[in-house]
Amino acid sequence: MLVKYIPVLVMMLVGIGFGVFAVVVSSILGPSRRFKVKRETYECGMPTEGATYVQTPIKYYVVALLFLVFDLECVFMYPWAVHYRKLGLFGFVEMLVFMVILFVCYVYVWKKGALEWE
């Protein structure tokens, strides 16, 4: 059963190995002529102004929360979708009820203005 996942592990090692190899080799082969100005933050040549980590708009957090809600719903739907043929009418009605409840939440979220980006 788990034998199927051995290639995944091998490929993952190959991928990460390639990444490490590229980073290490390029830092060895590349020249290194460093001075103060070069190591400063690049902003199209202007001296940088203000703090880097500014306050993040609350929108991003709202989107993350909404994503969690809807993604959980997707997780619930996968096993349902695999067995949909066997479940037949019962499965359809069940999912319809679930989706109606979800849709009410979706409409509420929309009306509250959580989906607006101004």
């Binding site: 199927k4 996942y5 051995i6 290639p7 995944v8 091998v10 490929m11 993952m12 190959v14 991928g15 990460i16 390639f18 990444g19 490490v20 590229a22 980073v23 080799v25 390029s26 082969l29 590349g30 290194s32 002529r33 460093r34 070069k38 190591r39 400063e40 933050t41 690049y42 902003e43 940088t48 203000g50 880097t52 980590y53 993040t56 929108k59 991003y60 989107v63 993350a64 994503f67 809807f70 993604d71 997707c74 739907m77 996968y78 979708a81 695999v82 067995h83 949909y84 043929r85 037949g88 359809f92 999912m95 319809l96 989706m99 979800l102 849709f103 979706y106 929309w110 989906l115 980006w117």
Partner: protein
């Protein structure tokens, strides 16, 4: 046991080499097609019609100076491109390139792993890949990088949902999550005929997930100076781009697998059909890049949440009803 490992390692290395070659030549296709669309030639100098250009670029990347800004969070800064490329290459493992072939008496399937959760694996690992860009932007200590990383993460999760919904309707028709199973299910009729709306949704969300142009918010050059990879140089910068093109290849392969019948096709052998379809999708990605202007960020988010998400839910209900009524 030895045979198992030999076959496994040979197959892994071949799949790695092939995908790296495709990644390299996707950049060539992109520059060439973009050039010709704009009535230029694109790369012409290195090799015949610039055919050796990707290799020259790769070698050059190794010999460039690497810069780590004083402001950067060094360990995360170094780790981010590795996460990006690692996740992108891991995805290649589940792509079904073709059916089983017999070489020297061994029956060898032309895919590395036929996982029972194939399509879930693809969605999950590609999300891990987006951590790369996010952490890269965050650790650079650069305003534009931070904004690019934030935008990237918000966009990824917004478009992940309709994409998952589109996949669910395909799973309903196929009755399995395994990619090989989904392809075998399309021996008669391709899913693009059964699921036109899901195909449409998947293409749009896929373009957003791999940051192609109408949705390339995370690296909008005009606003963010290049977004999350603004402070990266030499091979670390190249790794981000290889990861992006690798994601594009995987996306094209997924469209082929889920909707265009995978390796099925008349006359030619399976893998040839697979690559024809995959390259048609890669060409499409470049074509639309040269056609559409970039969206504004609020438009991107509104399209995802207000149009694509309800469309995905509706598609699932319609598919369910259709299967119930016609009993298929």
């Amino acid at each position: 046991m030895i045979e198992f490992w030999t076959i496994l390692i040979i197959k892994t290395l071949v799949a790695f080499a092939v995908s790296m070659l495709i990644v390299a030549y996707s950049t060539w296709i992109e520059r060439k097609v973009l050039g010709h669309v704009q009535l230029r030639y694109g790369p012409m100098r290195v090799g015949f019609h610039g055919l050796l250009q990707p290799i020259a670029d790769g070698v050059k990347g190794f010999f460039k100076e690497e810069l780590i800004p004083d402001n950067a969070d060094k360990p995360v800064f170094l780790l981010a491109p590795i996460i990006s490329i690692g996740a992108a290459i891991t995805l290649v493992v589940v792509i079904p390139f073709g059916d089983t072939v017999t070489i020297m008496g061994h029956k060898i399937p032309l895919y590395l792993a036929d996982l029972d959760i194939g399509i879930l694996f693809v969605l999950g690992i590609s999300t891990i890949g987006s951590y790369g860009g996010m952490l890269g932007g965050w650790s650079s200590g650069n305003k534009y990088g931070v904004i690019g990383g934030l935008r990237a993460s918000a966009q990824m999760i917004s478009y992940e949902l309709p994409m998952a919904l589109a996949v669910i309707s395909v799973v309903m028709v196929s009755g399995t999550l395994s990619l090989v199973g989904i392809v075998e299910n399309q021996a008669g009729l391709w899913n693009v005929v059964k699921q036109p709306l899901a195909f449409f949704l998947f293409i749009i969300c896929g373009l957003a997930e791999i940051n192609r142009t109408p949705f390339d918010m995370p690296e909008a050059e005009a606003e963010l100076a290049c977004g999350f990879n603004v402070e990266y140089s030499s091979m670390k910068f190249a790794l981000f781009f290889m990861a992006e093109y690798c994601h594009m290849f995987v996306f094209a392969a997924m469209v082929t697998t889920l909707f265009l019948g995978g390796w099925y096709g008349p006359l030619l052998p399976g893998p040839v059909w697979f690559f024809i379809k995959t390259f048609a999708i890669i060409f499409f990605c470049v074509w639309e890049r040269s056609t559409f202007p970039r969206y504004r960020y609020d438009q991107v988010m509104e399209l995802g949440w207000k149009v694509l998400l309800p469309a995905g839910l509706l598609n699932i209900l319609l598919t369910g009803l259709w299967m119930l009524v016609f009993n298929i």
